[in-house]
Each structure stands twice: as C-alpha cells, then as structure tokens.
Symmetry: D2
Subunit: 200 residues, 4 copies
C-alpha cells in the first residue's frame, strides 16, 4: 500500500517563515491550536470558536483597525482568500487584537464602523482584554509579535502556521490548498479529531 | 482503507476558468498533454520535452515578447512561481508562441535579448512554425486563444489547466499545491505513468 | 508691454473636474475661500487659519480616518505633495470632516492615534460640529459632497479648486505649480491681498 | 511695473535631479536644445524637428523597446502626459535610442509592432546611428547615461531638464506647468525666439 505524504506540498514550497513543516506521518506532532478568548463577535449571528470551526481550514488574520499594514495588505488578502476558496473548506476569520491605542480602536462600535466602510464581510472576533494587560489574551496565548499575524489551522484544529507580517498570495494559496488536500489522505476518523466537529 | 480524493482542493476553489476538475477517482480521465513542437530552446543546456519533465508539475506560460499582458503580468508571475516552489517539484517553462509581428519577435536573437533584459532565467521554448501557418504548431495543437495562456501539467503528464489570460496568484498557488499533493495519494506506480520519467 | 496670462497653464490642462479656470486678467473673479471652522488642531503648535496661511498655496484634503479612499489615495498623495514642494510655497493641511460614524472617528484621541500610525506629519484640523448638524461646519460651508475632497487655495486666499474624489498626481502637480507661478505675474501688492499675510 | 519671476515654481520644487533652475531673469542662460538626429519617424505624417515644435513645450522620452523601466514606467507616464495637457501647449515625443541589442530592437518594423501592441500614439523618432558608433547620435549629443531619459524643452527651444531614470508624476506635472506658465511672462517676441516657430 502506498503511504501518503500529505505535507509534501508544503515542504515543496521554498520558504514560508514559521510554517510548521513535517515529513510523511509527522502530522500527529502538531499541537492543537489553543481556543481563542473573545469579548465580542461581529459579522456572525452566533459566536464562533475553534471547536465549532473544526473540520474546516481556518485562515485567521489578527489585525488592528489602525494598523496600516493590516489595512493595506492583510485584510484585502483575507477578502481575496474568502473569495477564492469554498466556504465549506475554508473559514476566514478576523481577530481584532488591539495592543495599542485602545481608546481609539477598542470599542465594538469603532470596529463595526471600520468593517462597514471597508466592506469586510467575514466574521471578526474582538480579542479579549483581561487583568489590565495591554496585550489581549489570544495574542498573548499565541505569542504574537504584532499585527498583522496570520494563523493557519488545519481541519483537525492543529496550528500549522503562525506568521507575523505579510505572506504573498501564491504561498498562502499553496499552503491552504495543501491543508485542504490533507483531509483526503488523513481523514478525521483516522487522525483522531476530538471535540465538536462540523463535518463538510 | 481510506480512499484519497486528490482533487478535493481544486474543487474547493470557487472558480478557475478552464480548470479540469473531477471527483475522487476521476483523475484517470484527464488526457495526456500533447508533446510540444519546438524550434529552439533558450536558457537550458539541453532541449527539454514533456517526456523529460514528467514526474514534475509543469507550469508553462505561452507568451509573446511584445504582448503587454505577458510582459506586465504573466512573466512576472512565472518568475514568482519559480521562486516559490522547489525546482524538484515544479518546472516553470516559457513557450514563445508568436502568432503576430513575426518579423519583430520571431528570431531567437530578439527573444534572447528580451530574456536578458527582463532577467528571465527559466527555460524558454520557441514554438515551431510549419507550413506557412501564421499560428505556431503547439499553440494550434492546444487550441490556444492567444497570449498569455497558462498550462498546468501534472506529474503524470496530463493537462490539467489550459487557461487564456490572467489567473491570480492565490488560485495559481492553490492549483499547483493541489497537483503537488496528488502525487502522494496517486503515486506514479499506481496511476500508470508511461514514457521516460524523471523521478524526483 | 506684454500682458501676462497667469491661468494659461490651468486652461492648458485637458481636464480637472471643478477647477476654476479663467482667461488672462480674470483672476479677480475668484471668490475668497471662506475661513474654516475648527474645533481642534493636531500636528501644529498654534492654531492655523486661512488668514495665517495667506501668501502660500494651500492644498487641503478633507478626509475621514475611516474613509478607505482617503486612507489609500488622498492622504498618501498629500504626503507626496508635502514632500515635493517647498514649505515656503505650499502648505499641506488635513481637514478631518466627519459626517458619519461620529463615535468611532470623532475624538481627537482617535484621530491622533490614526495620524501617529500613518505617520502623517502635516497639520490637521478637526472640522467643527455645531447645532447637532451631522455635517461639520466647514464641509457644509464648502458644500462638499463627501470625502476625500481636495481644496486648492491660492496665495491671495481665493478658492481655486474644490474637487470631490481623486485627482491624479500629474494634474495636481500641474495645478499647484500653476498657482505658484501666478504670484510672479500677479503679486500680492497688485491684486489686493487683505488680512494677515505671511510673506515668503 | 512688476517683474515676473517665471522660474519660481521650479525652484519651489524641493528637488528634481538635473533640473535646470534659475532666479528671475536668468532664463537667458539656458542653452538651446541641440537638434535631434533622426533616421525615421513613426506615428507622424511628416518628420518633426525641434525647430518645427518650437512654441510648444516638448516632453521627450528616450527609450528602448526592450528596456523594462521604459516599458513599465516611462512610456505609460508619457501617455499620461499626453492625456493630461493640451496638445497646443505640450508635444510628447518618443525617441528610440537603441544602444544595445541592435538586431532585436533596431528596425522600424520591430518598433512599429511594439508601438502598435502598447497603443502608443504619440510621434516616435528613431535616433540615428552613424559611423559604427554603438550609441545613437542624439543620445551621444545629449550625453545621455541610458534609458529612460526625460528631456524637457521650453517654448523657446531651450533644454530645461535632462533626467536619467524615473521622475514621479507630481514633479513632472509641476515642471511642465511651470514651463507653460513662463510663456506669459516671457513671450516669444520678448525673449527672442529664433528659427521656425509654430505659434499656438
């Protein structure tokens, strides 16, 4: 029997900074992505969670509405991602992780106005602030270095990429497609997905 | 045993005009890409052929050196493709398919000057002219509508995409990664690749 | 004696929507730009006014910090303008004219955070709100249709352009240079500048 | 009587590399632009010359059809220039100054095909080759360092800018408008234009 090597495509990429790479059979070593801590959700009827999203690839972009690189590059790229892949396979999520200028960009009202003006239609979570910590909780949990940060989470809920800064469209498209292709060779029942699964 | 569905990622893409898509198990239906007819090769020590390239994904861009869309979009994208994927997995090839202004862009010398100025380092084939046909032979065989045209050929030498015009980087990256991932689930020995194979 | 025709260059432009144009000797017909009504100034030690700025060309861009066209086009263009012309000749001023999402972008703190993140160094005035009018006062006085709006005011304080939307760099550069050139042919002492003059 | 200072706007520009600048009254010091040496003209019914063009601002771009910077930046900018200013004031001219790859880009047929594909409608002169010199004659006369090179020639036929490389649209628009404005203060009859004049 031929053994699949699902990560071949990602290793085939010449370079993605921070991409979790592995050889055939190594996928078990990836850690499950920690659940997000969210104060408020926008653009979604019901609160989401990684548990709810399991079974789909999650492409999450941590941003701040006053971060120029987020506005010029990361958010338009997230919109292109949502337009390029089927929603049944890929969930694009914004994570508003405010770590500076809290008064200016910290309220749901300010963020809602921003999302309206920039016509951002995908769900956006407001990263929770706790205990007077200037860094929001999810940002701290994921040890993010700033915004924008791109997270890729596979169908089994494992964190596969935690990338600070910009990743070009070709590599991002390739990385997402690689994660999509994995499910065939390593279906959920085989790799032991746990928790609530939203089967597609 | 779990049956792989290697085309899942491509069907997961919302839309690629002309992309050959299929369901699990359908890959056998794709036709083998007809061999190119080439007058002259540049940027390669020895002439190439689809037979020689078999085993790698072939990303070929048919262009003309005086075609503005080729110069502004298709060729830079081909350069990004060559920079993004490992050469062991993906071969980027230019196909100079001149169907107009033959005197101005038809000679190997003119093309060599163009490649030098635009710093294009991947191999480029000059599509053969025969029998006074204004259209070159490979362009006619593939029924190309003009330039740029993007061809994607999988590891088994089958034509998977024949796309006239521009394809954005995210979809192209995803399509290539999908073809790369297929080899694991459908290795050469299983799907019956024939002809000379350059194993990677 | 040769009579100057200072507006020749502007009429020589093929088209600027809303550009106040005239023939030789017509410059007297341009109305003096109404004084701005400002709640608060940022990026300047002392409050400015058109009276204070008289003697210099004023390039003012009315914007909102959550207006995508302002952020992507108008404000970067204003920064290029400030970098291209001598400050002794041209004053670039931002006018924050908030007519929607007042809670999100209405406070000096939010605007200050925005200016800091986008590294906008030129003076910015916050257009005054009065009487519960959702439109700020200066925006209403100038009958602006939205943001971004570009105002060009000549050395004599006369409104020469009131342009809604984007104006390309070449036409804007040409329009500013034309106003700069006018001062030679129609110096202040001749055209009867009034009010405080900041001679350059 | 008020004395005009026609160069005020150009000195007001913060920086244009190579721009001939001067104070009021200095314009006489600018040298007359040497006549071009041309083998062949395209996109014009009759051969042009600086003598024929006198009375209009001449914006000339020296280029090669296989020079990437010319194709990507200088020629599109020349098209924008032609679209932005009235033809009665500004003549945009291409100067095909081939100093390398002569076989590939040296023929009128190759250049005609290029102009057709890139939809370049303004007149283009082929810089003359003499005596086996690899550099064409006009390029040598003007001591150009390469392509693209931008020449600005005022209404009196004097060379005002000889700029190697790219000049941004705002500065170019400003420089052209400044030259246009000069004619009012220094009309032809006053500054002693000589040679055949095409009055506008």
């Amino acid at each position: 029997m031929v053994k699949a090597s699902p990560l071949r495509a990602i290793t085939a990429l010449r370079y993605i900074d921070g991409m979790e790479q592995g050889k055939s059979g190594d996928t078990a070593r990836f850690a499950v992505a920690p659940e997000w801590q969210v104060d408020h959700w926008l653009n979604t009827r019901e609160p989401l969670s990684l548990a709810v999203l399991r079974g789909r690839i999650v492409v999450a972009v941590a941003f701040q509405m006053l971060c120029p690189g987020c506005v010029a590059e990361a958010l338009p790229q997230a919109q292109r991602t949502a337009a390029s892949f089927a929603a049944a396979d890929v969930a694009v999520i914004g994570l508003h992780s405010v770590f500076e200028h809290h008064a200016a960009q910290g309220t749901p009202e300010a963020l809602a106005a921003f999302l309206h003006e920039y016509r951002i239609g995908f769900p956006v979570a407001i990263d929770a602030h706790v205990d007077g910590d200037p860094l929001p909780a999810t940002m701290r949990t994921y040890a993010m270095r700033g915004t924008p940060t791109l997270l890729l989470i596979d169908r089994q809920g494992r964190l596969r990429l935690n990338h600070f800064g910009h990743l070009d469209d070709m590599r991002l498209g390739a990385a997402i497609a690689t994660l999509i292709a994995e499910v065939a060779a390593h279906p959920l029942s085989e790799t032991g997905a746990t928790g609530a699964v939203c089967e597609v």
